[in-house]
């Protein structure tokens, strides 16, 4: 019995890995055959970014059971830390592969550090209070990054929290982080292949964590905190672990994001609470705790607004309606009953019964 359960689990995970690899192979073949539109080609790296974000948030929301609304903040930290590194070393380090590898490590480490520091106070709170505090931290990160001015000249680094003049740089100086204008000129190092590799690494980390002793401890805390505590599970340690890993993976997504566009600025649109909520929508729609669902939902919901471009003015309106309708269909008690009655399996079952009756 136990062996069978394990097999099922492994099989399930293999399907998830396989799906990602298959998607890559199919896309590569189609691209070689020239059958992929520029829009889709341009969307490949963003898709990888969102998939990583969704999977990493699922670790906190689904596995650890904490509602976090500040995930975009960690992405922002990863993006800025790595873009700063890449821009600074652009001339010195010309091997783009090595530079990007280091950038990923730096982005992940910076985001992990923030996740750890923020996690310590935040994880003492519960439920909606935790949600609002993560939202608050996300907004603080965005707000603070918008007032950082950092430049480099012959005398070394200059920093200001007011404006670019206050740095008093030499004329030969270069402004690296220009407050709200952010970082421009980041090398275009992200690619679909690297994105896919990063997704696979993310999946590997998350899936292994879930199926390990650590994962079981985290889920025990989610399901019943007091019972978990009474059997000697160190609550803070495990919660913090999940939170930090998730933040660091979000940082990796940020690295991918930053190296795909030549301009990086912390706007409400890309690193504000709206983005955090969008990632949460991926997780909820894909099924809380369901890793494969997160991947699919992230892909579908990122493509949806692009595919609705033909509707022009009604595009975002349709997106909103689809969102509400899907939630009601998948989550409401009425919708679930409807689905069970008309699901594929039920219909097949009915046919079988009919056949048998005949």
């Amino acid at each position: 019995m136990k062996v069978k359960a394990l097999n099922k689990n492994t099989k399930n995970n293999l399907i998830t890995y396989g799906m990602v690899i298959l998607a890559y192979v199919v896309m590569e073949i189609l691209m070689k055959a020239g059958m992929v539109s520029s829009l889709l080609q341009g969307l490949l790296v963003p898709l990888c970014t969102y998939v990583i974000l969704a999977v990493s948030l699922n670790l906190v929301v689904g596995i650890s059971g904490e509602l976090s609304l500040g995930h975009a903040g960690f992405m922002c930290v990863g993006a800025f830390a790595s873009a700063f590194f890449s821009n600074y070393t652009k001339e010195a380090l010309t091997v783009s592969g090595l530079r990007f590898f280091l950038a990923i490590l730096i982005g992940a480490a910076a985001a992990a550090l923030f996740g750890f520091l923020i996690g310590i106070p935040v994880l003492r709170l519960r439920g909606d209070y935790l949600a609002i505090v993560t939202l608050a931290f996300g907004e603080i990160i965005k707000n603070v990054i918008n007032v950082i001015f950092l430049g480099h000249d012959s005398k070394g680094f200059h920093i200001s929290f007011k404006d670019a003049f206050s740095m008093n740089m030499e004329p030969d100086g270069e402004v690296l982080i220009n407050g709200p204008q952010g970082i421009t000129g980041t090398p275009h190092d992200s690619s679909f292949l690297i994105g896919i590799i990063l997704i696979l690494i993310t999946l590997f980390i998350v899936i292994n964590m879930v199926n390990s002793r650590t994962g079981r401890a985290i889920m025990a805390i989610r399901d019943n905190r007091i019972a978990a505590e009474s059997v000697g599970i160190h609550i803070t340690k495990y919660k913090l672990l999940a939170f930090t890993v998730s933040a660091s993976l979000a940082g990796v997504a940020g690295v991918l994001y930053a190296h795909n566009l030549s301009t990086l600025a912390a706007q409400p649109k890309n690193f504000g609470y709206n983005m955090s909520i969008m990632i949460l929508v991926f997780v909820v729609l894909g099924g809380i705790g369901n890793i494969r669902g997160s991947i699919i939902a992230a892909v579908v919901l990122t493509l949806l607004p692009e595919l609705l471009r033909g509707l022009n003015d009604y595009r975002m309106l349709m997106y909103a309606i689809v969102l509400i309708a899907t939630m009601i269909f998948t989550s409401s008690p009425g919708g679930q009953a409807f689905r069970e009655r008309y699901s594929l399996k039920a219909l097949l079952g009915q046919k079988k019964q009919k056949k048998e009756a005949e």
């Binding site: 670019a164 204008q181 030549s262 301009t263 579908v300 493509l303």
Partner: protein
């Protein structure tokens, strides 16, 4: 079971969406074609009806925010372009070839802007007019440079928008505006104590402010108070206005858009504070704010490329058409966009490109043509372009008198 059903549903959706991706090019053509049908009707049918497809029309793409917080600017650009395209098509097109326009939304987001660009590429765009806002424009310029696609931005003011040789702009650049306005204030002795309010989350506003501040020292202007606001915190200006008032500023410099300016002006009146007001080209449009009390803006000065009530025949005709079609007075975004289409036409005629050339060949030809043309439009006369992408045009100082903008 539940999860399985859900993932099945989502998988189906994905397959569907991927399939739809392939023919999305066909969907997006619909609105553009209808625009064209309208113009054909106006022309009385003497222009030959273009069949959609390569080689028979020039395909011009446009990118800008038509939803989201910055949509007012994107929609104005879209409308300005539509009017220009209709006029050109009615008059026989470019060298007898009709223009087809396709305008895509980018929500004022660099990532969405690149998506919009790729959508247009799939559609077969040959020339790009866009993006409307600076950061998205920088991101798109990177792509258009790689593809060697000719790009003309109506309103991307940041320096880096035109850093590559394929990109040109219609508007003034940020440093240019800051410099010119400081010069104007200093040379005309308008004030020596100046307060500045600026949007620190907007590169446009910061860029102008920085240049203004650098030039202010040369012009004997003292900046007595500077207050920043951000995109998330732009409803309450009471502290900013009070700060300027307490510092005894004689002039309030406002390098940001008219939406926020209308709030600042209302707040000043609330606090009975009446300095001179000086804005930049983003201020143009303040009188078009529906239901705005124009007396609040009396004597407000701003830099603008264009005045809607000018006597110029071209401006009159454009404003009339715009009002008839959309029921409002066009702002400088619409005007710049309108001129953009005509600049593209002029450069195409100069370069002698034909509709069956591909985007890269058109770009190469137009790059050189751009520096050769001299353009008379509604945002200036005798405009010429540097190879760097910057236009040579003189800014106009406009003052609001009796509820109307008057050129000084």
């Amino acid at each position: 079971m539940k999860k399985k059903a859900l993932s099945l549903l989502l998988a189906c959706a994905m397959t569907f969406s991927l399939a739809a991706c392939g023919n999305s090019g066909g969907d997006t053509q619909a609105p553009a074609e209808s625009t064209e049908a309208d113009s054909d009707a106006e022309a009385g049918g003497d222009a030959e009806t273009p069949a959609a497809g390569d080689g028979s029309v020039f395909k011009i793409g446009g990118i800008g925010p038509t939803t989201g917080g910055a949509s007012a600017y994107g929609i104005a650009v879209q409308r300005g372009m539509e009017i220009a395209v209709e006029e050109i098509n009615a008059a026989g097109g470019i060298g007898g070839v009709q223009i087809e326009l396709n305008f895509q939304d980018d929500e004022h987001d660099p990532e969405k802007s690149v998506n919009a660009y790729n959508t247009l590429k799939d559609w077969g765009m040959q020339v790009l007019v866009g993006s409307v806002t600076s950061n998205p424009c920088i991101a798109v310029a990177e792509q258009s440079y790689n593809d060697n696609m000719f790009q003309l931005t109506p309103s991307g003011t940041a320096v880096k928008c035109v850093q590559y040789d394929n990109a040109f702009r219609m508007c003034f650049s940020d440093p240019n505006q800051g410099l010119e306005s400081a010069k104007y204030i200093g040379e005309n002795g308008l004030a020596t104590k100046v307060a500045v309010i600026y949007d620190s989350s907007d590169p446009y506003s910061v860029g102008i402010y920085e240049a203004f501040r650098a030039e202010a020292a040369n012009q004997n202007i003292e900046i007595v108070s500077d207050a920043a606001f951000t995109a998330d915190n732009k409803t309450d200006f009471s502290t900013a206005v009070q700060g300027a008032k307490n510092a005894g500023a004689e002039l309030l410099y406002m390098p940001f858009y008219y939406t926020e300016a209308s709030l600042v002006l209302a707040e000043c009146s609330k606090q009975s504070y009446a300095p001179l007001f000086f804005g930049v080209d983003g201020m143009d449009g303040i009188l078009s704010v529906e239901n705005f009390d124009a007396s609040l803006a009396e004597d407000l000065m701003y830099m603008a490329p264009f005045v809607a009530n000018s006597d110029d025949e071209m401006v009159k005709s454009f404003v009339g058409k715009y009002q008839e079609k959309y029921g409002e007075i066009p702002n400088q975004f619409a005007a710049d966009a309108y001129d953009c289409v005509y600049v593209v036409k002029a450069a195409m005629e100069e370069a002698g490109v034909t509709a069956d050339m591909d985007a890269s060949a058109i770009c190469d030809a137009m790059k050189t043509a751009m520096t050769a043309i001299t353009f008379d439009g509604i945002t200036g006369k005798g405009i010429s372009w540097e190879a760097s992408g910057e236009p040579n045009k003189a800014p106009l100082i406009v003052q609001i008198k009796g509820g109307e903008g008057v050129a000084l």
